[in-house]
């Protein structure tokens, strides 16, 4: 029996499995936000939100609670015991200074050199990079959480064609189909869905794959 779990949640759950106990983690807006729902019970992470929180808790729906605390996506959130609130210069001291262990960002494209495109499709989609460029440059480990393809087209490439958000920064890519580490400029598949063959995965990826399963 199979249950139809949305692809986003499959990706989020797999990305959550990459976290370790005690890690300071920044989750990008969108898909990466869902990772918070799947953090294993025996793993406690400290969520950083670039708008000024360390120790962010779950969303709250009652706006009377912690009225002045929002996440970087504008949603009202709670604070965990032991949290800290701060301004933007301090926030990016944490981020750029290497004090965030793991950043999880979404992607439009990502390539085997570890370059990421996530913030612009020229002439069409120009939301701005927000904190993504600083997170990519500063986090100790950068995980990209993304669907493997977009309308059937591969998002994992030899070389990104959209404007770069950061170059040579991505450590790991998590998709609904696999987990890939970037090692010396190559995609190395560490985990693979049981529903797919190596050949099928290669066909959905526009760059060579090595397998280390």
């Amino acid at each position: 029996m199979t249950i139809n779990i949305p692809i986003k949640d499959i990706i989020a759950k797999k990305a959550a499995a990459e976290l370790f106990d005690g890690a300071v983690v920044n989750l990008g807006i969108g898909l990466p936000e869902l990772v918070a729902n799947y953090i294993p019970e025996d793993v406690e992470v400290i969520l950083q939100s670039e708008n000024g929180i360390l120790g962010m808790g779950p969303h709250v729906t009652d706006p009377a609670v912690d009225h002045n605390c929002f996440n970087a996506g504008g949603k009202c959130v709670s604070l965990k015991p032991g949290s800290m609130l701060f301004d933007t210069t301090t926030s990016f001291m944490f981020i750029r200074g290497g004090h965030v262990d793991i950043a999880i960002l979404g992607a439009l494209q990502v390539d085997q050199t570890g370059s990421l495109a996530s913030h612009e499709i020229p002439g069409k989609f120009i939301p701005g990079m927000g904190g993504a460029m600083d997170l990519a440059a500063g986090a100790k480990k950068l995980i990209v959480a993304t669907s493997h393809t977009q309308k059937g087209q591969p998002k994992l490439l030899e070389k990104i064609t959209f404007p770069a958000t950061a170059i040579n920064c991505v450590d790991t890519i998590v998709t609904e189909l696999c987990v890939i580490d970037i090692v010396d400029g190559r995609f190395v598949v560490r985990e693979m869905s049981a529903d797919i063959s190596k050949k099928e995965l290669e066909e959905l990826t526009a760059a060579p794959l090595m397998f280390n399963l």
Binding site: I29, S49, E50, N51, G52, I53, D66, H67, N68, C69, F70, A72, G73, G74, L85, F86, D87, T88, T89, S91, F92, I95, R96, S115, G123, K124, I126, P127, G128, M129, G130, G131, A132, M133, D134, A137, G138, P163, A164, T165, A166, I167, N168
Partner: protein, 221 residues
């Protein structure tokens, strides 16, 4: 210590065409809505706005985008305000996108008398185009220049009459640093206190940086 309390009408009169204005907030959280009202009422045109983002429809900087008072925006993210993107693509708004941490440091440099920030952020991307690269201790950095404004519009949770201010929760964001980087600083506070009522350990903006102060209404824009 002199009281900085200023009438709304005076503030409206002080806003002029062509000003470069910093506005605190993050998705309008910590944005002074009454001071945005004042900018709208002033009718000032051709403004340059510096802020983390352009708010969300109907709130924050978004309201100035809608009134066509803004010629140029220097910001890190506009994804939650479709009108900004439309105008930028149509060419009626000059949209300058800057990484968030870089924007914060550029403002800090202007406020701290520093000549710019050396950051790794943006290396190898379009952000690096036309900028100097400096090597220090074997690493390469972009030189990002200081960013100053004519006016900063800030929103505090509490201020005393001198302008000493405290920002609660995630409303600190750009408010604290912008107070250092503008010729004129106007603070809108939720709660107005007497001088001496704020613990000196919790003051986040000194009144020496504040020129004008006005009490806002807690509002539900």
């Amino acid at each position: 210590m002199r009281s900085k309390i200023t009438a709304y009408e005076e503030i409206v009169k002080s806003i002029e065409d062509g000003m470069q204005i910093m506005i605190g907030g993050f998705l309008a959280d910590g944005t002074p809505e009454l001071l945005i009202d004042a900018v709208i009422e002033s009718g000032a045109k051709n403004l340059t706005i510096i802020g983390n983002d352009t708010g969300v429809p109907g709130r924050g900087i978004s309201r100035l985008i809608d009134t066509d008072q803004v010629a140029r925006v220097i910001t890190s993210h506009v994804g939650l305000n479709p009108r900004t993107i439309e105008k930028a693509i149509a060419g009626t708004l000059d949209l300058q996108l800057v990484p968030q941490g870089t924007l914060a440091e550029q403002i800090r440099c202007a406020g701290a008398g520093l000549g710019g920030a050396l950051t790794p952020t943006g290396l190898g991307t379009k952000v690096a185009e036309g900028k100097r690269q400096i090597e220090v201790q074997g690493k390469t950095y972009l030189l990002e220049e200081p960013l100053h404004a004519d006016l900063a519009l800030l929103k505090s949770a509490m201020s005393d009459e001198f302008g000493n201010s405290f920002y609660e929760g995630t409303c600190k964001n750009f408010n604290i640093v912008m107070a250092y980087a503008a010729d004129t600083v106007i603070v809108e506070c939720d709660q107005l206190l007497e001088i001496g009522d704020l613990n000196p350990n919790t003051v986040e903006t000194s009144g020496i940086l504040v020129d004008h102060l006005i009490k806002g209404a807690k509002c539900d824009y």
